[in-house]
Subunit: 344 residues, 2 copies
């Protein structure tokens, strides 16, 4: 063991994707969610693990479990979908997770996008604790262009400010293309995702410069100093900060949800999920003039490769997915034991 680098110190094993989904579903139900909510969250979490997006995979389960145990979130939420206008759908997530709210609104939202050419989904009173790309990628697989933003919890210092206010506030985008998987990206507007800081802290690794500050507001490369009273910085200086502000406006002000700084989980020890809102915009590119959209996006991909780009956003994830579906999803052996324990 001592000859191995720290990142390989834990043994990994494999599990079939369907088996992982079923196991996670049991864990969720066992900790108080309805079977419907469990099915959606399990598929979401297993998909992240399958794609090698570890910071949003099985790694998140302890946070889900402690949050459900704390009573902070409604595991049996029944989202209420409102048909507001020909391009506008609202959902009250009933203090539950955002993914079941999206699932409940999905058929209406897709029908509106195909009819109106564009449609907006405003989810409020919701908790988002997952990666954002699983919310947009399936729409691109159906030929739609999707854009989503979600705000989280205060941990990012706006550019030019003294203390944290914004969440990590990711932006995710997906677009179909003719030959191959959709073009998909999911980027935190913070310099680094919060989950990656946690993983670095656990592994005892230092971060690159420019990611965060300590509790005194001083730049630090120590992930623990960021987690213990410190904060993250936005990516790309004032520009990333402006985009993070936009996410607060779209995901909270425009949905009726909380800003990242408006909820307080102090009375719910163990709570980890931000209680905010989420916005999703769907566009039907068949309304576009001229050539087929998917052919055009394929042409862009072709030119990006010709310019020397070896890997597109989403490429690594799609390759890991193919491997996982063939040989099983690679999971930390200790984490898998823990899941099996929690499932019973």
């Amino acid at each position: 063991m001592s000859a191995q680098p720290p990142t390989d110190a834990t043994a990994s094993t494999t599990i079939g994707f369907t088996e992982l989904v079923a196991l996670l579903q049991q864990v969720f139900v066992r900790h108080g969610t309805s079977p419907e909510v469990a099915a959606i969250l399990a598929h979401n979490c297993a998909s992240a693990e399958r794609d090698g997006a570890h910071s949003h995979g099985v790694f998140r389960i302890p946070g889900y479990v402690s949050t459900l145990n704390s009573g902070w979130v409604n595991g049996s939420a029944l989202p209420v979908v409102e048909d507001v206008a020909s391009g506008f759908v609202r959902v009250d997530a009933d203090n539950g997770f955002a993914q079941p709210a999206l699932a409940a609104a999905r058929p209406l939202l897709v029908a509106k996008a195909r009819s109106a050419g564009i449609a907006l989904l405003a989810i409020r009173n919701s908790h988002h604790f997952a990666a954002l790309w699983p919310d947009v990628e399936p729409f691109a697989e159906e030929g739609l262009v999707a854009l989503s933003v979600v705000n989280s919890m205060t941990c990012v210092v706006p550019h030019g400010a003294d203390r944290p206010l914004f969440g990590t506030n990711p932006i995710a985008f997906a677009a179909p293309r003719a030959d191959g998987s959709p073009i998909v990206f999911d980027l935190a507007t913070s310099a680094i995702a919060h989950g990656d800081v946690q993983i670095a802290a656990r592994k005892g690794e230092r971060l690159p410069p420019g990611m965060g500050v300590d509790s005194l507001g001083q730049p630090t490369q120590d992930p623990k100093a960021i987690l213990e009273g410190g904060a993250l910085l936005p990516f790309g200086g004032h520009k990333g900060s402006a985009l993070s502000m936009m996410v607060e406006l779209l995901a909270a002000a425009l949905t009726g949800g909380n800003f990242s700084f408006e909820f307080n989980w102090a009375d719910h020890p163990g709570a980890r999920t931000p209680w905010t809102g989420q916005l999703l915009i769907l566009i039907d590119p068949s309304k576009t003039a001229g050539q087929n959209f998917a052919e055009r996006s394929q042409e862009l991909v072709r030119q990006m490769h010709a310019a020397g780009l070896r890997r597109l956003p989403g490429d690594r994830r799609h390759r890991t997915r193919a491997k996982s579906l063939e040989t099983g999803v690679e999971v930390d052996a200790h984490a898998l034991d823990q899941l099996r324990e929690w499932a019973h």
Copy 2:
């Protein structure tokens, strides 16, 4: 003269905003635009100068003039507006400037946004040579949330690629707020705006690190090396690069316009305007659940100030505007002489 720093080497004078608009309008008409197109471009350009956004103000006029002289753009374009769906408007800009195309579609677009809750404008076959914030800010002044993207011309190396492909591809956003001017930003997805590189080159100033590469692909802080065969970098590494890619997809693939790398002005010496497309999304926040949107955005502003942020995106511009409207727009004296010459 020699005692003054280079940036003050040229004398400045003032001109009333209305007078500046009228003068610019004459310049445009004198160089072959219709009076309608001239009125729109003159107001746009004078507004940038009025707000202190110099790289998109009077500084742009030589580029407009040489482009019009080259026959590259149709100065008397008649945009064709198509009502495609309840939330989707298309405009063929008739190889003219994008701003008259937006103006032609505006009433239909606003009506759709107010009715459907969200509406999309896809402009193609258009030239955009101005700042992007003037396209979104007026909608926020009417209580709407607006987002726009426009692609430009190949000058940015995608993150991880060897040679330039994307344009500077800005993203502009505007949202109303209860007390004060709208919240507005307009950010190039390149590390620096192309106009600012030109201004630095003219002034003989060096750029901060990380803005661009020379003709051999090596990092440089010399603006001339960037302009002469070099290229810009995206802001914020792979994240800014992903956003720039999204702009190509939305502003070109989704409108039916050209990608930044698809047009060739080699046969039109003097041509400067990118012949691409533009996307604009309008959202009616009155469809939002709960509290008034403008009150909520005002609350975000309040909290940003409380976190130590002294200046919001757009604040400096709005302050310069107030001063310009009171004491006149400050313009370089030599540039003003040149305008008067071109107007006759």
